[in-house]
């Protein structure tokens, strides 16, 4: 996720929402992007699929599981009791509540071919193996910091 390339065009949001519900409602999307006018930052946000995932640990219904094939942390909506504990536990706010089906929703990496990446026209979203992305993310983050400091000057 390269914040120096995101232009907050929202193609990822609409593509994700479409994948979930067949509609383009932003609130159904598991990825959210926002432009912060005052600091001039474009920020995409979606599940980090944490190594030690607090949402998975806290879920009383054992509905939050790791997909061994893709590494994604997924919610089994048949098991989800709608208690919202995972939403409270996620430090990044990347889980939202589906009020119609009364379950929590989050990114599942579309079984290894994320739609948000396919529909990201700026190249800000990339889907790469973790070992390749670490160095890359570090570089990107360094640039991000430079951007923030530049915009605050």
């Amino acid at each position: 996720m390269d914040v120096t390339k995101c232009v907050v065009c929202r193609n990822c949001e609409y593509a994700c929402a479409f994948q979930q519900t067949g509609d383009f409602k932003r609130e159904d999307s598991n990825i959210r992007v926002e432009y912060h006018n005052d600091v001039k930052i474009c920020l995409p946000q979606t599940c980090m699929h944490c190594e030690d995932a607090w949402c998975l640990e806290i879920c009383p219904a054992a509905a939050v599981v790791r997909n061994e094939a893709t590494g994604a942390i997924e919610i089994d909506s048949d098991r989800c009791a709608g208690c919202k504990m995972c939403i409270l536990a996620c430090p990044f706010g990347n889980i939202h509540f589906d009020k119609i089906n009364m379950v929590s929703r989050k990114c599942n990496l579309c079984n290894g071919e994320p739609n948000c990446v396919s529909f990201c026209i700026s190249g800000a979203l990339q889907y790469t193996a973790a070992q390749n992305s670490c160095q890359n993310n570090r570089e990107i983050f360094q640039r991000f910091i430079e951007t923030i400091s530049a915009s605050n000057n």
């Binding site: 120096t4 390339k5 995101c6 232009v7 907050v8 065009c9 929202r10 193609n11 609409y14 593509a15 479409f18 067949g22 509609d23 383009f24 409602k25 932003r26 432009y35 006018n37 001039k40 474009c42 396919s118 529909f119 990201c120 026209i121 700026s122 190249g123 800000a124």
Partner: protein, 689 residues
Amino acid sequence: MGGVTGNREQYTSLCRMCDNRCGINVYVENGTIVEITGLKEHKWNHGRLCVKGRLAVDMVNAPDRILKPLKRVDNKWQEINLIQAYDEIAEKIKKIQSAWGDRAMSVWKGEALGFLTQENLYRRFIHALGSPNYFSNDSQCYVGRWLGYALVTGDWATQDFIRSKCAVIWASNPPYSQPNLTQSILNGREKGGKLIVIDVRLSAIARQADEFVQILPGTDGALAHGIARQLIEDDNISHSFIKEYTVGFEAYAQYVMDFTPKRVEKETGVPAETVVHIAREIGSRRPKVAFYAGNGLEHHENGINNVRAIACLDGLLGNLDHEGGNFTAEKPALKDLTLYKEKPLRHLGPIGADKYPVLYDFRKECHTISAMDTILSEKPYPLKGIILTGANPVLTNPNSQKVIKALKSLELFVVRDLFLTETAELADYVLPAATFLEDSELHCHPIHQIISLSTEIVTFPECDSEYIFLKKLAARLGIGNYFPWKDKEELNRWLLQDTDITLETLRAHPEGYKFKPKRYLKYQKEGLPTPSGKFEFVSKYLKGHGYSELPEYVSPAYKSSPNPEYPYVMVTGARKVCYTHGRNRNFQRCRSAIPNPDIEIHPIDAEILGVKTGDIVTVTSTVGSVDIPVKVVHKSNILPGVTQVTHGWQESNINLVTHDDRNDPIDGFPLLKSVEINITPKQNRNNKD
């Protein structure tokens, strides 16, 4: 080309939901298109697609799509058979020809269906019929910029962003208007290039700009001249290019000397120090500077010269046809479908050519705005019939009331489209058209010098593709000999006849076939395709037509003679991510994303007017008025006093207030982006009820 997995077939093609032509995979199940994804191998989009691309699935299968010919009978639509429709239309065309002359017939090509082959087919058809009147959307979009550059360099170059050290995006928002151009701009920036965005609004691409320069509408020429002056003063210019390959530098340099940073600030709203700063940012990176001139530049009374002013910067920087600069792409030697050599018809007075000879000389475009006056006044001669394809001028041409009145008064108005658009509603006949997924055309991506073939993937019984429609109609009009090719396959083979490219080669290269390796600096040996063969800071050709030979800057009317009754200036036509011009409003999904039109206003203006987001205001100009909801944007998004309304909404058609009689004197483009308006809040009607 294709493949079958289970009952799912896969095809490759190119998207035409906008002009970007991204490579796509199209999946078909039981004869129905069910999915579209980005084609990873395609050199343009590398597998990425915007949501409009996927929407083509909705478009092709839409429940409200027109699948049967419609005829207006007693002001009601009656479904008729296709053969009957073509027969009746042909008879009516013949009647018009014999009663009013051949030139009383015309065609009008829009953007909703096809590409270049379609355009040339319509040009061929109307000339074969004996009329010079070919109209298209191009006489108010794209051609203004093309002409502005062509008058200086002979062509409009494409941008080598990926190799540039400085990308200047001027009055354009590629993430919405040319989605996958965004990748190359930002990849160039990732490699250390600067991104400068010059715009009235803080657009999506401006969010990533290293320098965002916010400018008053229609003042871009003054800024370009200010940059030029600074480059010359800093001696940050390419002397060798100027000396060897340009004409008129002395006169131009003298002219721009008056554009001091202070004067530019006063004119454009861009701080004097910013003018100096960006001139240095650009100059220090020459010649690897790539400029993209956007649609925001061309809808003004001074549009062409503003574009020329920007084009002239290439002459100072030496970036023309340079690696990382503005690259002049070569074209494949396709056969020409048009009949301008065999049957020029200039003597028949193509509509608008007398008033805007430059537009006709360079592009053989008649002037759609003049067409409305011609229809209503019968001057200089009667125009009685239009066959319009994939266009919606009721929403996209200025002064909609006049457009409606004119189109209604035609003797024969035939519309080919996918949906019953606001324009189709006025027709005598509405013919079902084929989408781009039901047609096969040749396409070039100039920046890569690649050519691709789009694929006919599905067909619908009565939805003829453009070629087949024209062939069938031509046969009924005695001009069938101009359309001898049995089908599109034969036509495409003929188009490729003089090249060493075959359809088989193109089918084997869905990623795009490189027809020629890129060569830079071609002008050094071959000259430029201008009258002088050189880069023209001054144009003797324009002088010959009575225009200024220099790209003279004229201050927009809202600045030079403000009208206190219309204190706001309105820009129209900023793009939205899921819409293209007047299209896609019938897809519920898009309405979920962006439900309604709005007028973007600055928080200060909202306070003065006492309105908040969602309140309805009336926008008024000397032409008309329209009601529209307000959107109060962040204070950095737009300057106080400046507003923006996107076109293409039937419920708030902003072209009800735009002028059709205030056009750029050179190319006749309408004033759509610096319109003087007044804004009045609707009196809280809800509270009264």
